[in-house]
């Protein structure tokens, strides 16, 4: 009887300890990353870009990947975008700390695919991926000295396979696709 009580106590303790971590791991990756960027760089995001992006037409890279007429890479209605414009993204020499924070924030559900850093120019690109049933969620974070973009989109495995051919360009291509003005 005493053993059972001890085991029950141990299980309860584990549930209490593991509780907050489980909540953190199952959080919304997109929102978690936006918050993390805001905290690290002391910046604020905008859901709608301040600068007009009318000039951003259907990009040739996306058209080249799909072949022929341009078609969106992301599934309809799946795109989430957060912009940070005209703000200061100075990592103060701690760019690898930021990289670690990014990985920790998305640990669990998301797998890191590509990460490129150029500390001198404060340029960073992160690409994470996770299963979404028959499709995939792709999270792209692009940071430059004065602006940043966080994009989450759902893509089909066929599109993902084509994008995988050049993972270094994948983030740029998906970000351009997500921010294209159709008008």
């Amino acid at each position: 009887m005493k053993t059972k009580i001890k085991i029950a106590g141990l299980v309860m303790a584990l549930v209490i300890i593991a509780g907050p971590f489980r909540v953190r791991a199952s959080g919304d990756g997109f929102n978690d990353v936006v918050k993390m960027i805001e905290q690290f760089y002391h910046v604020k995001h905008q859901s709608i870009p301040l600068l007009a992006r009318a000039g951003m037409k259907a990009v040739s890279t996306a058209a080249r990947i799909k072949g022929g007429d341009y078609k969106r890479l992301a599934e309809a209605g799946s795109v989430r975008v957060a912009f940070f414009e005209d703000q200061n993204f100075d990592s103060r020499g701690q760019i690898s700390t930021f990289k670690t924070s990014m990985r920790t924030t998305l640990e669990g559900d998301w797998s890191p695919l590509v990460q490129t850093l150029a500390p001198k120019n404060e340029e960073q690109t992160y690409l994470f991926i996770r299963d979404a049933g028959a499709k995939f969620h792709v999270l792209v974070v692009t940071i430059e000295r004065r602006e940043a973009t966080v994009v989450q989109a759902t893509v089909s495995p066929e599109v993902l396979a084509q994008l995988m051919k050049d993972p270094n360009e994948m983030g740029k291509t998906l970000t351009e696709d997500a921010t294209i003005n159709d008008n």
Binding site: G93, Q94, I95, S96, K99, T100, S111, P112, L113, V114, Q115, T116, L117, A118, P119, K120, I129, P157, E158, L160, A161, M164, K165, D166, P167, N168
Partner: protein
């Protein structure tokens, strides 16, 4: 004591499964190099590229390359059986920004019995600066590692699965594998 013995006996099959599972896992991980210890170099490097294409992702996407398109058919054949592609590349502005300690942290893993240096490959740019290592378990190729060590650049490519030099050259410039300047006809055996 009797209760403890009974509990242990009941758990024995589970423990056995765990042991067998971890042994299989350890063998599968044999060709995968540990490279995360190099991450701190990102603070010194002028440019860092880190690519991780794991087994799940490789297998999921490989089947979506159509056999009808000739380019895709070739990619499909090259990727067959590949369990992962891992790349870390650091470019520095000045020489001496990384040390032999960092190089050794990777090289020491390649000194194991399953790894052998098969080729020193001539770079189109700077001569003998790319080394290729092959991981073999019996007559099975477990993976491949390429180290490009230059004064201002340090690149490691680790491919897990059945891969040879010919497949590697086909992957150059694709799937995160940088253009290593490998010329098959100019390679020499060590």
């Amino acid at each position: 004591m009797k209760q403890l013995f009974q509990t242990t006996w009941k758990l024995a099959p589970v423990l056995m499964l765990l042991l067998v599972g971890s042994a299989i896992g350890a063998r599968a991980q044999g060709a995968k190099l540990q490279m995360d210890q190099l991450d701190f170099l990102a603070n010194k490097a002028s440019e860092t590229v880190d690519v991780k294409l794991d087994e799940r992702l490789m297998q999921t996407t490989a089947k979506f390359f159509s056999g009808k398109d000739s380019d895709d058919a070739e990619i499909k054949a090259v990727l067959k059986g590949i369990k992962g592609i891992y790349v870390k590349s650091f470019t520095f502005e000045k020489e001496g920004e990384y040390s032999q300690v960092e190089v050794d942290s990777v090289m020491s893993q390649l000194r194991g019995s399953t790894w052998s240096k098969i080729l020193t490959v001539k770079s189109r740019k700077d001569g003998d600066n790319v080394e290729v290592y092959l991981n073999m378990t019996g007559d099975q190729i477990g993976g491949l590692a390429v180290l490009s060590i230059e004064p201002k650049e340090f690149t490691i490519v680790n491919i897990v699965g059945p891969i040879d030099l010919e497949k590697l050259t086909k992957l150059e410039g694709q799937f995160g594998v940088p253009d290593l300047g490998i010329e098959k006809d100019k390679t020499k055996k060590q």
